[in-house]
Amino acid sequence: MTAQRISRRDFLRISAAGAALSVLTGCQNPRRWVTLEPFVSPPEQQLAGVPTWYASTCRQCPAGCGIVARIMNGRAVKIEGNPAHPLNRGKLCARGQAGLQVLYNPDRLQGPVRQEGRGSRQFQPLSWDDALLSLVSKLQAAGDKVVFWLGSTISGHLYDLFQRFASAINAPDPLVFDLYTAFNGYPTLIQANQGQLPAYELGQADVVFSFGADFLGAWLSSTRYGIEFGEFRNQSLGKRGYLVQFEPRMSATGAKADRWLPLRPGAEGLVAQAIARLIADQGAGPTDRVERARALAADVDVGSIAEASGISAEELGRLAQIFAQYDRPLAIPGVPLAGKDQAAGIIAAVQVLNLIAGVAGQPGGQELPPAAPGLLLKRPAISSMERVRQVIDQMAGGQVGALVVYGANPAYELPDQAGFAGALAKVPFVVSSTPIIDETAVLADLILPDRTYLESWGYTVVTPGFGEMIVSSQQPVVGPVFDNRSLADVLLAVSREIPLAAGGLPWADEVAFLKESLGQLAGSEDPERFQADFQQHGGWWQKTAPALEAPETSPEKARPLSPINFLGDEQEYPYYLHLFMPTLLSDGRGASQPWLQGSPDTNTTISWQTWVEISPVTAKRLGVKQGDIVRVTSPAGELEAPVYLYPALRPDTIAIPLGQGHTDFGRYAQNRGSNPIHLLDVEAGGAGWVTPRVRITPTGKRAALATFENQVGVTEGFINEAFPGR
């Protein structure tokens, strides 16, 4: 609405135009209803038929995209990207749009529940007062032996409160771990980039070499990298960027690449080192690059890397030439499963290419994040696998009195071999705040369902901000659907009852705390005014000069990487295992949302199912066909799932998507497919995952795949012998 007042005559004219038009088109004209609404007492800013848009922040992954929610009559009916938001510029990925089904999920808890006997799934509702009393007494009993296990998508203010609470009661700093960040290698990427996630501005690059980074899928930000990719292909003066993708299984990014090079799993770092070596040896490209290459490239034998990776020496030579020649080359390190145990070395090897090219720290290259604005605003610090191991060991050793889980689902996300369930049994009190009963909640005593992100307050310090400092705002776009309390208010209420904590968290409620945290951004502006603008526009951002310091990678020569370790004997387990994160279900958190379950996976077009990708070459040798159910066995575990013949996969590798295999988590997720994470092992005492080899055994059972092309179901009906019960 404009500020102009509308006279009664204008008003009638508008409605007349609306009415006439609706006759013409034969469609219902929503505006007509506006004029008929009796003005009894409409809710603030709500007119029937006229949408209101509220800006907030997406929490379906840690990226922090700005969203606007379309509200009709108090209901959220659509989520779109916030056009003013500098990170995602009005665009939004499939997961972000499916957020409505987090809010309106039919399996949401309607209030706190207690479980008598862990694993019994007998949940008794109780009042918030009783729930809080119980929480207070259990936390007091646990003293300083409380562990807070948080997910990476937590709002900054809530993370801040958890930290303050933990430090007030002398408990250890909260642990931030979920599969999304762990599997995607966030901890290692952060470590390699001075404590922050890097941004790769491929929008202006000439040539991009991606070492297993599925940046168009569920990695750092599928929306922002989608925007960057659009620019990369449509540069000024008709220039079109050239993408080379190294990975054993063709991802969506690989499918868009100009060259897809299926190297042996885990050889990404070796290939990067070979290319650096070749730039030095061939002397192709500008002299400054060749000089840097001579100083930095590791002394590796290109011939043996060619053999180990499966990419010929001539090919590597050509690639080195391309990378050295063009103005703006860029190398992006993915952190695929194979080689997770030496991920830091692989990232460094890829980083050396950016240093040679001279694009590290340059706009249009690898941007180094500016310091986070304001000291009081918090960003969850992703914990390492080492810390996770330590906490599990403490739990198993009876040194943890209470475990508080928020926004994470470790019972689903960790391999059986990590021993989480066993360790949890030794913890006297477990509380979860999941809005839907998930695998971890089934092992908990008390569930205090938090409001979903579309009903909550908060902020996110967006990193990387791609050259801008961004604090994205979060506000409720609708009123709470159920009688659920925000966990921040729960924490503040609890802290008032615990003497140690009371002094550390003096705020009356969540909003008061949030206002104080955000006040520092206001500067000289009136804080109330700032707060209103902050919520209305979706956040606060500022262009900054890009940091021009090169990353602190040792200026001396890099050391050659050692070969990747695989778990399991080559004879007994002949195939490499390549797990990947599907774009829609990501780490499994999307499985409760029917839009994500029912939309097809890009490369296989499969929905609702888990499948095992096998190269047609291998399938022929094994005598298995599309839809045959096979057993995949690793030294750590096994699963059964139907075969999908995947032409763009190495014959020595088996690929399986994450995301399914929930035993709980609502009707859309439950008892559907398999969770391949249990095929993995977590290195004892180490910092990473161990990649296993696997073997394949046909089971003689069949399933009709839920694909576009499937013919079996049309002629024979529904078959899925993997789940005879269903």
Binding site: V77, L92, Q101, G226, N234, T253, I322, N603, F708, F718
Partner: protein, 239 residues
């Protein structure tokens, strides 16, 4: 009542930048109340997506390529699905070149689906099941179709109407880029462009006019589809 101008709504799909991310698919489900069908029904070939990403494998190991083509109703000028409808539920809007579907006329003969070369018409074999609270997510601008009714992509006709009305009320012509279907709005790489080919200055016209990369699906059938695809390009890199 002012005369509304003639239009030729069209979609331009840049296959060079489509990454198959499915943002358009979910956006369409949300905007148009398209139901999600169960695993059992998908297996029987009854999946419903007004827009879908078709993936084509080309070549054999190791020289394999995957190509993505987003396919929605092609809004044909001479649509094969139209003349076979016995009840005029499927009909053409000459003024704006849209292929309309009138749900409350449809009697479910499925002739149109049979005649549709692009397989972009979807039949409601059952009433849609928006369980529990999921009903709250429904867009009130779009009818929820019941069992026995055919449905398909409308180019988000409700958004076209809303924008046209807003322009009419403000007494100004509709601007290029003002009408944004849900799929186009969502697309991160901006691979989808929507516009009026009657407007010589629109971005869609600019992309289509004289573009060597453009083609249309199954053009040889003569249905005059109004969705233009732009083939993948090549980089100036010595391979």
């Amino acid at each position: 009542m002012p005369e509304l101008p003639e239009r030729k709504w069209t979609m331009v799909v840049n296959l060079d930048t489509c990454t198959g991310c499915n943002a358009c698919v979910v956006a369409c489900h949300a905007e148009n109340n398209v139901p999600i069908v169960s695993e059992e029904e998908v297996v029987r070939g009854r999946a419903m997506h007004w827009i879908r990403i078709e993936r084509y494998w080309e070549g054999e190991w190791p020289d394999v390529k995957a190509r993505y083509i987003p396919v929605m109703c092609q809004q044909c000028e001479r649509a094969p699905c139209e003349p076979v409808c016995p009840v005029y539920a499927t009909l053409h809007s000459q003024r704006e070149n849209l292929n309309l579907q009138v749900y409350n006329r449809c009697v479910g003969t499925r002739y149109c689906q049979n005649n549709d070369p692009y397989k972009v018409r979807f039949f409601n074999f059952f009433d849609p099941n928006f369980e529990g609270l999921l009903k709250e997510q429904l867009n009130p601008d779009v009818t929820v179709r019941s069992a026995g009714v055919m449905e398909k992509c409308t180019f988000c006709v409700q958004r076209i109407r809303r924008s046209e009305e807003q322009a009419l009320v403000a007494d100004r012509p509709l601007r290029d880029g003002e009408v944004v279907p849900a799929c186009v709005q969502a697309c991160p790489t901006s691979a989808l462009v929507f516009g009026d080919l009657k407007d010589p200055e629109s971005e869609a016209t600019r992309l289509v006019r004289g573009n060597q990369r453009k083609f249309r699906l199954l053009e040889e059938l003569g249905a005059e589809p109004q969705v233009y695809y732009l083939q993948s390009g090549h980089s100036a890199v010595n391979e």
